[in-house]
Amino acid sequence: MASNTQATPTGPATAPSVRQPTAQWARGPAVPIASVVFALAIGAVLVLLSGHDPISAYADLFRGAFGSPYDITETLIQTIPLVLAGLSVAVAFRTGLFNIGAESQLLIGAVAAGAVGARFADLPGFLLFPMVLAAGIGAGAAWAAIAGYLKAARGVNEVITTIMQNYIVVFVMHWLLQNGPMTAPNALGTPASSPIGAGAVLPIIIPNELVPLTRLHAGIFLAIGAVVVFWFLLWRTPLGYELRAVGLGARAAAQAGIDPRTHTVMAMAIAGGFAGLAGMIQVTGVFHRVFDGFSAGYGFDAIAVALLGKNSPIGIVLAALLFGAFARGGSIMQANAGVSSQLVSVIEAIVLFVIAAELIVRLLSARRGRKPVEAIA
């Protein structure tokens, strides 16, 4: 009975989080916080077993993430691409699609933005910046639209296409930047492109006197704007309504006159646009050129961000902050407390797992003999 075009990666349901109501949040802030604390407690045992002091280790974790204005800006810098990638994955989920390709859409947006920014480096900001912005978003959108088109026209499951696309982009980037067509000539042999023009650079938004050495760039405004666009698009426009309708039941939507196939392509394009924007921001706000390298894993983290955030704007921001805090705080934890970075990963995984498992909710409800809120079909 379930329609063919819905999706978890493979299954018919739109990501279960869309179908389930906000059971966890409905109980207020106690549950997610309790989950995090519970997970951290398990992590503390591991830290202890590895021969380090959990209290000071966690102190470092928190301080590294939020301890000072500088630390907070560092956490935010980590969070920005995760928010955008999370929006990318979420908008696809809302339409019943699984976008595993946020990573490649991000990278291709970065490459496009970097290429345009370098090629036209001498143009003034009011011309160059919009061009670079359009290039980043457009490249990501176009690349993702391919996956959408293949699904709409040939029924190719987008999970396959987007996983493949992830690898293709990484290798093409290697070719472009390792002494290739896009490599900036330099004696040191660094695999990177020419720097983008000054007009395309996202400026640092906090003056040095206020928060010394901060690197927080104007990309945060773009990210906030994107969150607003996400919300507005999905819940305040007809297109958004149609996308969500397709996500909840393509067959029913079709009967209402909404063509799931065109909406599949559009949804993927929009998703790719968000991710492309993330890549563009990394180039214009952090690196100021395109570096070849190894994928940062934003794409996969974004899936967890979207799902933990229940595919909704505030949830995504919070989930992205959680990841960002771990990324930032984790490195301080390693630097100061000497806790190995792999152990930090393990703790992060436990936190994620516990939150995902909504273990606390289940345990509490099980003890009281009540069933948790049932999934609404």
Binding site: T10, G155, N157, I160, I168, A349, A356
Partner: protein, 315 residues
């Protein structure tokens, strides 16, 4: 570019070697998802299988014990996922993702603790190759399959066994029923949750075997993150193969072939132009997309795949 570089016996042999880990992960995915549970943690199961297989091989010097340890580790990780997905009805994708991160962090951490300064021992018990003397004489095809590892053969046998199991036996039918219409299955007395537990555990075992293949048959050592995304390629192969073992085999072979080509063609030129090595590496991925778009098209997952199940009463 020569014919030999394109379809020589060496390339075909490489295809089998490269396809095997992906195939095993895909088979794990098929079994799990046919019962209705999405198991994204295949990558993690492969990795723990690879690592604990090496540790056991080092400690026991016995291949059998090493393989048992490997699949046990995979089963344990999958078991955690099963509990989360089936008992706690958590989000199966996040649970799977979290377990992947956990597996990577844990194996890397333990690798450093146990083998940090010295590396894994060089004389690990390894899974032997199967030499088929009869075939060595056969030109061309003989070379491709005369010296394949035991696990390569095991995976091919498993394709047949699992295909038969799922589509020709009653227990297999029950498993598929659980994945398609769990409510109806329960009504006729099938234990939905128990079936799913077994399926997820089995998927962990299969994926772990794939990981053990990498560490005990191919590399004879362990390096952090050595599975390199094969668990996810396996998922793609599963979908490509329409959730059937035979389909997964075809998909894995296509992908393996593309990868094999990307190495055999290094140094080849088309006319005057040398193909850059980085672009060659995109071959398997492009080939897969073309194959799916051209020949497979739409594939339908089991109807209840990914939806947590709420029992009415008994298991």
């Amino acid at each position: 570019m020569t014919i030999d570089q394109l379809i020589g016996a060496g390339v075909l042999a490489a295809t089998l070697r490269l396809a095997t880990p992906i195939l095993l992960a895909a088979l794990g995915g098929v079994v799990s998802e046919r019962s209705g549970v999405v198991n994204i943690a295949l990558e993690g199961c492969m990795l723990v299988g690879a690592f604990f297989g090496v540790v056991a091989a080092d400690q026991s010097h016995s291949v059998v014990i090493a393989l048992l340890a490997a699949v046990a580790a995979g089963a344990v990780l999958a078991g955690i996922h099963a509990v989360a997905a089936i008992h706690f009805r958590s989000d199966q994708i996040v649970s799977g993702m979290a377990l992947n991160i956990l597996a990577l962090g844990l194996t890397s951490y333990l690798d450093y603790q146990l083998y940090g300064t010295t590396g894994t021992p060089s004389d690990l018990a390894g899974v032997p190759d199967v030499e088929i003397g009869l075939l060595a004489g056969v030109p061309y095809a003989g070379d491709a399959i005369a010296h394949q590892n035991a696990i390569v053969w095991a995976s091919l046998v498993l394709v047949v066994l699992i295909q038969l199991f799922l589509f020709r036996t009653i227990p297999g039918l029950r498993l598929r029923a659980v994945g398609e219409h769990p409510r109806a299955a329960e009504t006729v007395g099938i234990a939905v949750r128990r079936t799913r537990y077994w399926a997820v555990l089995a998927s962990g075992v299969l994926a772990a075997l794939g990981g053990a293949y990498l560490s005990l048959s191919v590399a004879h050592s362990f390096t952090d993150g050595m599975t390199g995304g094969r668990g996810f390629i396996g998922l793609a192969a599963m979908i490509f193969g329409r959730w059937t073992p035979v389909g997964a085999l075809v998909a894995s072979l296509i992908f393996g072939y593309g990868t094999a080509l990307s190495f055999s063609l290094q140094g080849a030129s088309i006319g005057d132009v040398r193909v850059p090595v980085q672009l060659l590496s995109t071959l398997p991925y492009i080939l897969t997309i073309l194959a799916v778009a051209g020949f497979v098209g739409r594939s339908r997952p089991p109807a209840a795949d990914g939806i947590p199940y709420e029992t009415e009463g008994h298991a």
